[in-house]
């Protein structure tokens, strides 16, 4: 019971009760896992779709957990799989990965005061498993209790991590069984996932104007210029529009 000895609350409970199970149930780790559970269930359909689409694009079953386990960023992985060719355009995929994940820069900066006191290795591990969900839950909990409980954070964040890696792999295993996904409209699952992610990022029509610019520029580029140029054209024009539209009043 390593978690119980590391965790002040849990060892307090353990001192009162001889039952180790009770100690775990009262621990910060258990509290973190409980907080993460509903969102972990929400991960599963995303993970299955990603894994099966990756398999359709020619990923081997080993390559899927390699990507989802090392990269661990859902949005960028969906984008990468959608753009994946054989062989993949390394620079295009890396640039898109950076753009999708650039929000981590802000998240990490906001997270810094909470993990500054940690030994370096622990701080860098905490950042490795920082995703939208673990960041939001960690920040919300720290605001309530005044500090970030590390057993709480790590149990929750690694819960997300394991859930994501396991179920993307399950998706990769199940993908070939489904067969050609473009029959019957299964391929429409992909834009559906993207649209749900966009709906989750929605902050009103004004904030979405750069998205409209991206959509129009990307669509026009796709129609008139062959290849994957629509990706940098759409993404960069949207970011540029955001910069211009956000000019200081």
């Amino acid at each position: 019971m390593e978690t119980a000895t590391k965790d002040p609350d849990a060892s307090e409970v353990a001192a009162k009760s001889p039952s180790l199970r009770f100690a775990w149930r009262g621990s910060e780790s258990w509290r973190g896992l409980k907080a993460a559970l509903p969102m972990m269930l929400g991960f599963i359909p995303f993970a299955l779709v990603l894994g099966s689409q990756a398999a359709q694009k020619g990923f081997s079953v080993a390559e899927v957990p390699l990507m989802t386990g090392l990269n661990f960023g859902g949005g960028s992985e969906f984008a990468a799989v959608q753009l994946w060719t054989s062989p993949p355009h390394l620079l295009l995929i890396v640039a898109i990965t950076f753009l999708v994940n650039s929000r981590h820069l802000l998240m990490g900066a906001a997270f810094a005061p909470l993990i500054r006191h940690l030994p370096r290795r622990q701080a860098f591990t905490a950042l490795f498993v920082m995703c939208d969900e673990s960041w939001a839950l960690g920040l919300a909990d720290a605001r309530r209790t005044g500090r970030l409980s590390m057993p709480y954070y790590f149990a929750m964040a690694f819960g997300f991590y394991i859930c994501w890696v396991v179920f993307t792999t399950v998706g990769a295993l199940a993908g070939p069984i489904l067969g050609d996904v473009t029959r019957f409209g299964f391929d429409m699952a992909f834009p559906a996932v993207f649209l749900v992610m966009l709906a989750g990022m929605w902050k009103g029509p004004a904030a979405a104007r750069p998205w409209l610019v991206s959509l129009v520029v990307a669509a026009l580029t796709y129609v008139f210029i062959p290849g994957a140029w629509y990706v940098p054209a759409g993404a960069l024009s949207g970011v540029l529009a955001a910069f211009v539209l956000a000019r200081p009043a």
Binding site: N101, W202, P210
Partner: protein
């Protein structure tokens, strides 16, 4: 099982993503970001996501376009699983009508 070019791309993705995770912590923690830069960074992921699905909007198949509109409406109201079901069922039916 693991293609070297796929491996290289996956590793490059992983490095870039980890840099975004530690970058903010290492370099931005003692700085106040301008509201303008914050807004740009916040809208960037959405710009990329919509860019990637943009070709679906100009595929030229009316059935796909209608299904996409239905899916967009579903995405604003429903969670992931029902939205995906709406997308698959509407595209499946509309394509077989056409």
């Amino acid at each position: 099982m693991i293609d070297p070019l796929n491996l290289a791309t996956i590793l490059a993705m992983a490095i870039v993503t980890y840099l975004t995770r530690v970058g903010g912590y290492l370099f931005l923690r003692n700085r106040t970001l301008s509201p303008r830069l914050t807004t740009v960074l916040e809208s960037a992921p959405g710009c990329v996501l919509i860019t990637i699905i943009a070709p679906q909007f100009v595929s030229g198949h009316p059935a796909d376009l209608i299904a996409l509109v239905i899916t967009t409406i579903a995405a604003t109201r429903l969670s992931l699983l029902p939205t995906v079901l709406v997308a698959i069922v509407s595209a499946g039916i509309l394509r077989n009508l056409g």
